[in-house]
Amino acid sequence: MNRGSIARTAIDPRHPVRVDAQMLDASALPSYAFGHRSLMWWGTLGLIAIEGTVFALAIVSYFYLRSLAPRWPLNALPPELLWGTLNTVVLLASMLPNHMLKRAAEAGDLRRLRIAFLACLAFSLVFLMVRVFEFRGLNVWWDTDAYGSVVWLLLGLHTLHLITDTYDTGVLAVLMFTGPLEGRRLVDASENAQYWYFVVLSWLPIYFVIYLAPHIPQ
């Protein structure tokens, strides 16, 4: 083979490329892009895949333990439907300001973007508060039995996501008011909204498992 052919044609050994080359000029390319063109989209998707797998395995563990139990729930009443259902409505409704946020980010409209950020944070406040009542309405403690352990695990895992997503959104919101800004921060905002969708939509199967599965006969 042409061992070292590239190095031989270089004028300077530090530049092992051909000198008679034509250049592919990148200087006019955009400096950021939205959606799957951006690195941030792929990074976020990686996190979503990891966390989605955790949720799925936690749900599998729930049904695994349920399949071995003599009755389900073991030693408790099923969770109270009120708070969980209310929070499902709040979470689903939060997709509206979140959608506005994504649109505003992609349009580069900072005024609308700021409003959407504040609206999302207002929703966060509400669903985190209702979440406290959800834990109280589970009717079981984590150390009561395996049923208690696994419902606390499911609700705890999702709550962790609500907290971190609220915090991320808060940090970005502050940045939108203080700067320094550049175009690709809009991509960050857009991907933050993408992650928000995941946190909301992953709630639906968890809601079904925690609140409805105990009512389905084994």
């Binding site: 034509q22 592919l24 990148a26 200087s27 563990s61 071995l68 580069g108 900072l110 320094p180 921060r185």
Partner: protein
């Protein structure tokens, strides 16, 4: 986008930094070196984010753990050399085999592959960096701190002692009081966090940062192997993280996931562990296959035979690896029909492996062989892996598995597969890429000694274990009575272990000596065809002064036949800013320019904060609450944009 409100918060006023030319001028190279190198001093060292610096540290760290794990193994072999030996007592012996397995699996075999990939992938795909370089640094520090925590615990006599897979109920609160298993569980959290982040980094790097023209069908096979591995990490490691979190909660806050008295279940642990644990074997094995696919064409001096079949085999292995986990549980009370399914899949996965072996053999048979040390290690792979594969097929059948379950037969099998499938190719890979890391070749003479001692020593150490297992010697016993008649073969195995130790010692001598006295390598000492051989050894801070444009699968070999009038390299990327070309996923068409972050100490400090949280939570669950505050502060400081950096980015900005 015309919002003036947005523009008001943009720091502006800087002229646009100039882009590189093709060919790059000396001024371009000097500027790129200044831009991409890590800052000096101790703080600079802790702030480093260049993928090569981080990967070098990562590789050295994993090798440090490999040596530590090897010394533990040597101690075990010395203890077992003669019957009724009293060198090591039962309690320490339990810690030795638990630490050995945990070290080799979690602190060496998986991370070393990701570490090597972190160095090579950007070079092989023509990129200046990995994606998310700060996260890459964070993943390294988290890994280092996790490993140091485990060894600190071991030295304080609180090392894990329930085996590397910590089965409950033994590892549960009733049978393992104290903190030993808690340290094990948190080590899992550390290492899996690091590996998961690395997986996301590798996927994004391979999909988005390839040089223009490197379509999916032109990606080097090593990069393909690491890509498939990264996807497997994404879907398997969450399982062991969830399992070990549930374990530590059972132990610390009184949950009952694995406690049958409160309707928990111990087999839940085995399912969750092996849903990760079996794919893990392939997380170790696939990168090994990738090494071989890189070494074989170079030393056969021809392109690989059956590229497409090789890629499809890697992907098929990735899928099938998730359908095997129950074959670790044949000795449990599961439905027989289920076991038959897992036997079938265990047999099936031999097919893609065989396809690859035949492709390599075809490549070797039709090439002109250059029989250097890296190729020797590959040839040893064929012998050892086929042996391990054969015993694997034996173990995949339920009746035989029940007979030899928990005996030295399994120990022999897993060492044949893991050392043959991963460690031999890895050592070959180190000989192959060492000149790229250091600019010098390793000694060929020492390499031959290293190889033969390792190959012979390995077989002397592990082959007798097959027979010991068939004779019924159980795993994890600290001694045995002379009447069992296992003495001679154990003694032979220990001699083999000593040979391996000498061989590893020679390897270290070779690594250290060649650093100073090795033969200077130049950019392409072996005549390789992939892009890492098109740049300096060791590469400049920015890897390539001009990003190459790719026209085939072996760009270096094909450079002379590049179609006339086609571009050879990318120009116009800033030399005074960390600018990287981003390309499309399928065809690697130029898509946009991305501004990469500058070095920062905050990933390091974030890792310190994460360590405080993880270690603190071994002692009090409240650490998860108060420990989250420093983590939040450090990661926010990590993200928060700096004015000067932003000004540069704004000067380079071009709306989509």
């Amino acid at each position: 986008m015309s919002s003036t409100a947005f523009d008001a918060l943009k720091p502006s006023g800087m002229p646009r930094p100039r882009g590189n030319g093709v060919p790059p001028t000396a001024a371009d190279s000097a500027a790129l070196e200044r831009t991409w190198r890590d800052p000096p001093g101790l703080v600079g060292w802790l702030s480093a984010i260049n993928h090569k610096s981080i990967a070098r540290r990562f590789v050295l760290t994993t090798f440090g753990f490999f040596l530590a794990g090897g010394l533990l193994a040597l101690l075990m072999r010395l203890q077992l050399a003669v019957p009724r030996n009293t060198l090591v007592g039962p309690d320490l012996y339990n810690q030795l085999f638990s630490m050995h397995g945990t070290t080799m699996m979690f602190l060496f075999a998986v991370p070393v592959m990701q570490a090597v990939a972190g160095y090579l992938i950007p070079l092989m795909i023509g990129a200046r960096s990995v994606a998310f370089p700060r996260m890459n640094a964070y993943a390294y520090w988290v890994f280092l701190f996790g490993g140091l925590m485990l060894y600190a615990a071991f030295l304080l006599d609180i090392g894990p002692d329930a085996g590397w897979f910590s089965y409950v109920p033994l590892a549960g609160p009733d049978y393992s009081p104290g903190k030993r298993v808690d340290f094990w569980a948190q080590l899992i959290t550390f290492t899996e966090l690091s590996a998961l982040l690395e997986a996301a980094i590798i996927i994004t790097t391979v999909f988005k940062l390839r040089a223009p023209g490197m379509t999916l069908a032109r990606i080097p096979l090593f990069v393909w192997a690491m890509l498939v591995t990264a996807f497997m990490v994404l879907f398997s490691m969450p399982s062991v993280m969830l399992a070990s979190t549930a374990l530590i909660m059972d132990r610390l806050v009184g949950t009952h996931f694995y406690n049958p008295a409160q309707n928990g279940d111990v087999l839940l642990w085995q399912h969750l562990f092996w849903f990760f644990g079996h794919p893990e074997v392939y997380l170790i094995f696939l990168p090994g296959l990738g090494f071989i696919s890189a070494i074989v064409p170079t030393f056969a001096r021809r392109p690989i035979f059956g590229y497409t079949a090789m890629v499809l085999s890697l992907i098929a292995t990735g899928f099938l690896a998730f359908g095997l986990w129950v074959h670790h549980m044949f000795a449990t009370n599961l439905p027989e029909l289920g076991k038959s399914f897992f036997t079938a899949v265990s047999m099936l996965i031999a097919i893609p492996s065989a396809v690859q072996i035949f492709c390599w053999l075809a490549t070797l048979a039709t090439g002109r062989l250059n029989l250097k040390t890296p190729l020797l290690f590959v040839l040893a792979f064929f012998f050892i892996l086929v042996m391990g594969g054969l015993t694997g097929v034996m173990l995949a059948s339920v009746p035989l598995d029940l007979q030899v379950h928990d005996t030295y037969f399994v120990v022999a099998h897993l060492h044949y597969v893991l050392l043959g499938g991963a460690v031999f190719p890895l050592v070959g890979a180190i000989y192959y890429w060492y000149p790229k890391f250091t600019g010098r070749l390793m000694s060929e003479r020492l390499g031959q000694w290293n190889f033969w001692l390792f190959f012979i020593g390995f077989n002397v150490a592990f082959f007798p274990m097959h027979l010991l297992g068939l004779q019924g010697m159980p795993r994890r016993v600290y001694t045995y009575p002379a009447e069992m008649g296992w003495g001679t073969m154990n003694f032979i195995a220990t001699l083999g272990a000593a040979m391996i130790a000498v061989s590893v010692l020679l390897f270290i001598v070779n690594l250290l000596r060649s650093r100073r006295h090795g033969e200077p390598a130049g950019p392409d000492p072996w005549g390789g065809g992939t892009l890492e051989w098109a740049t300096l050894s060791p590469p400049a801070a920015a890897n390539f002064d001009a990003i190459p444009v790719v026209h085939g699968s072996n760009p270096v070999w094909e450079e002379a036949t590049r179609p006339p009038g086609t571009p050879s390299a990318v120009g116009g990327l800033a030399v005074d800013a960390r600018e990287q070309l981003v390309t499309s996923v399928l065809d690697a068409q130029p898509d946009h320019r991305s501004q990469f972050p500058e070095p920062s100490i905050w990933p390091f400090l974030s890792a310190v904060a994460t360590t405080v949280l993880f270690v603190g939570s071994i002692f009090t669950p409240w650490a998860v609450v108060w420990g989250a505050v420093p983590v939040a502060v450090a990661t926010t400081a990590w993200f928060w944009p700096r004015r000067r950096e932003t000004r540069t980015h704004v000067a380079l900005e071009q709306q989509p």
